[in-house]
Symmetry: C2
């Protein structure tokens, strides 16, 4: 299954850190890439640097037209899941989404907004999913959704071509450094 | 089990939004409160407002001396879990932590740092836990940890004395409003 994160409502002047967290969570928990509905070269650079150092092939594209991207995604047979505190409880729908995700060539776009999300996103989504119906964090919602979708398998994924790799330890820090040729 | 979040390294000028997300995640996923190792009345106010509107009894205390809090917590028999990408993989240790959390009067402090965490935190912690050994987000790490600790039960928790309550929906938004007397 291919997973892509679509981040809406990013305002470069105030959302830089939160959107960077969204990108890091997407990358570390198994998404292939993130589309950002605003231009932001700072985030592009920092995500590319993380990927170069820590491996994998996460890609990022900023300044996309999200209406076009959503439309094309659906035309190509992809599914769309919008994370929102107003949606159905994840525990009631994750089974259906998992089943869909296991089909051949399955493609899932996960939409996470900032404060206000246009109503047409609720309409375009195959599922509007609430990770708990309380105000919390789109970063946390994305993390819990990706974890439950993949049933924890993503937490032990190996990232290829990494320059830096952590050796898990009970105390302290150990990082393996591999020079790229 | 009582869970408290200790947030280290918060700098009011740049971490306001990220630390607010940490607080919201703590509240929505079953922690009793958050201790913040810096003074920040803005965050105190916004967390209190969320709790007043959305219910529950989450408490927040800023400007704490974290060394003292950690020491007292351990003296009183509480356990400490530090979330860090350098730690042991959550899947290898969550079973032990869950067993500990099920004991009578169990109390668990979950420490989440910003960028650099002093080495004495690694030493003071009963467990240094990595939610994936990749750079990601302390918000996501806290969410996944609390979810796995409580095995998803927290996602359907009911918050008492709420003025606002979401009615989960497949599409759109529905909020029940209860006036407090």
């Amino acid at each position: 299954m291919d997973i892509v994160v679509l981040r809406l409502g990013h305002r470069p002047e105030r959302d830089k850190r939160v959107t960077t967290h969204v990108g890091l969570v997407g990358r570390s928990l198994g998404a292939k890439g993130m589309l950002l509905a605003s231009e932001d070269q700072g985030i592009e650079r920092s995500m590319k640097k993380v990927t170069m150092q820590w491996g994998g092939d996460f890609c990022i594209k900023t300044g996309v037209n999200w209406r076009e991207e959503l439309k094309r995604w659906k035309q190509d047979g992809g599914k769309v899941c919008h994370l929102t505190m107003y949606g159905e409880n994840i525990q009631d729908v994750i089974g259906v989404i998992r089943a869909e995700a296991k089909k051949e060539n399955a493609r899932l776009m996960v939409v996470v907004g900032a404060e206000k999300v246009p109503y047409e996103v609720f309409e375009a989504a195959d599922w509007n999913v609430a990770v708990g119906n309380q105000p919390h964090s789109e970063i946390a919602a994305l993390a819990l959704f990706l974890d439950q979708l993949q049933e924890g398998k993503e937490l032990k994924a190996v990232f290829e071509h990494a320059e830096l790799q952590i050796v898990p330890k009970r105390r302290g820090k150990e990082v393996l450094v591999t020079r790229k040729e």
